[in-house]
Symmetry: C3
């Protein structure tokens, strides 16, 4: 595994809250590594214990990083129980350089990698060996951060523990083709209030042919390439930067205006508008 | 251009929200550079699409950085439309070392550099060439971040695109001398609730002579050198750290107590108090 | 003093708010150092002027960092007044490597190191010499950050100013043994709503023997090793990751559910439950 000449990147994603001090404790432990690294926060304000929200953030952000980046994810309602802690490497060659070593992860095996695994195959995984005298409430600081430091200093992942065959994968809603059209749903609301559906970008021709997107009881009839293509206040449908069809209000907050949230139906109707 | 021996600094200012994951995506792309850099967040909780608030933050913070720092600013309500994306270099020699290379910027040309340009002359600017197949909704990640990585790796700014003569500059309210006195207004409320006016520090002798500052309907009659010079709860006027006259409540929140916001009149009256 | 081979770490703890831009100004000044460093945020959303909250965060997080880390703390309601600014080094050898150089600090001498000093002895301290023409409202940027840059570049702490013998230490409530039991109180509520008491981990056998913890008017009768040992919604008592007994609601927010805050009595009763 050859890394770029710049120092290796370690990201952190937690539900600790950026003001908690817990994130800093983890970084302090990671920085005990003798090898320089670059620390990057993905997010620390994930809703407490919300594994699905963390899985979304991680899957979105992780493949933007250079090959060999180590992503430490701690959204862990089961801390201290028998759930496994794992190291994993995902292939990401289609996104990265030819010599890609993939993206690496240290996290509880609770489904937090589900969406990343849906996009990229698992190359290798290890069950972390946990010393029996480890404190029971903060595995992020006491197990994952030291493991990250060891990896930075060149330890082989094989030394972390025995091979793991597969990781927990949470089910995610998939769009279905029915008599009414392609039925999907809202799977994310971003910080701008944009409503992200599970309808992939590949369905854009279908959306354009239909001429509208139904979101809950609302009909979004303006289909654009980008937010700036319509006047402020217009409700639009477009392909968002993560490759899914979304609904947005230009310079406004669609989630509030359309009163939608996770699970709201999002449908590309079969019949063109009359 | 000679940089300090420590690694080059790249700052980020956005309205993405620090919990959005979008900032991390940009950092991931920047870190594809082979050259090490130091990433610093200026702010990511700028009110969505508020170009003026971003212009304030950037102008305040950017000149504190070492020469050659690259500031990436993405508050971009016009993303995907014809507004230009630019690289710019501002002179900052009065603030920095003699060998200053100035401060550099990558941003949409929408006025976000207005206040920085009011303080320091533009040395050079380039229109970024945007490939026609670029995604339309996230130029920060897909255009500005890769441009930052190229610059880090030594690309000359000239290779980014053709020269740009001038940048968009938004008008900003300026104080006016009238019969009542010097009439300014509130242009910023900081995180402590301190009320920053557009009355520059040079007007302090006038303020001291007047003995009071009018803010909206309130009279602030205690003029101090620093917050700690008056008892907690006192409403004071002073010169803030950014060089403007401000009103503050010692260990309190002036904005709430004086019920002021952007645009509230702030006046140094002509006649001394009777 | 020998530092690890990775670059020296500088942490920042302030009450500026992460969106204020003030933190970035300080970082910009620190990065004028010619020597590379790694900047880490501990927290910037400390309640404005709350020295005790900052003292808690600093004491919790600082000893997780490598020896020689420099912690810059700016919660400073007395900015611009005669309170001293200090550099200090605390021994932390029990927590760190044998060659530990301890943890270093730059901060106002207002008690913000009280809790860290309660855990680790003061090795050395200096009064920072403040130039008379320094701006009066932002000593973090104008005095502490440049001092940090000088230390990074190898300046001896002795050059910062004269030796300081002792630092301000705020009193902190200590548990008392009374007829009812061991009476402590709530000293911190974390971002998960967990209620941290001043009852140290060493009292766990007493807690287990008592079979319950009284928090305000509530009786917490489920004593566990970790959050995951009880069903979601259960109110539990346990030893938290910072070494104090705490009360928590599994996957919930104890502070709200038990209506407790700082100062709420927390008692391990003498008599086992009838």
């Amino acid at each position: 595994v050859a890394f770029p000449s710049a120092s290796r990147v370690v990201t952190l994603t937690t539900d600790f809250g950026s003001g908690s001090g817990y994130v800093a404790e983890m970084k302090g432990r990671i920085l005990h590594a003798a090898t320089p690294c670059t620390l990057v926060d993905i997010a620390h304000d994930v809703a407490a214990h919300d594994i699905r929200a963390a899985a979304w953030l991680v899957a979105r952000a992780c493949f933007a990083f250079p090959p060999g980046t180590l992503h430490v994810v701690v959204v862990d309602p089961g801390v201290g129980t028998v759930r496994r802690l794992v190291w994993a490497r995902l292939d990401s060659s289609e996104h990265a350089r030819p010599q890609s070593a993939g993206q690496e992860f240290l996290c509880p095996d609770n489904g937090v990698l589900s969406l990343a695994l849906a996009a990229h195959p698992l190359m290798a995984a290890r069950d972390l060996i946990v010393a029996p005298d480890t404190t029971a409430t903060f595995h992020g600081r006491d197990i994952l951060a030291p493991a990250a430091a060891r990896l930075l200093d060149g330890a082989a992942p094989e030394t972390l523990g025995p091979a793991a065959d597969r990781l927990v994968q949470l089910g995610w809603p998939k769009p279905r083709e029915t008599a009414v059209g392609i039925e999907g749903e809202v799977i994310h609301v971003d910080t701008f209030g944009n409503i992200v559906t599970n309808l992939p970008a590949a369905l854009l021709p279908r959306l354009v042919a239909a001429g509208r997107l139904h979101v809950g009881g609302h009909v979004v009839a303006t289909i654009v390439r980008t937010y700036g293509d319509a006047a402020p206040g217009t409700t639009v449908a477009l392909v968002g930067s993560q490759g899914f069809i979304e609904a947005a209000v230009v310079q406004g907050r669609a989630a509030e205006q359309l009163a939608t949230g996770l699970g709201t139906p999002a449908v590309i109707p079969t019949n063109p508008r009359r």
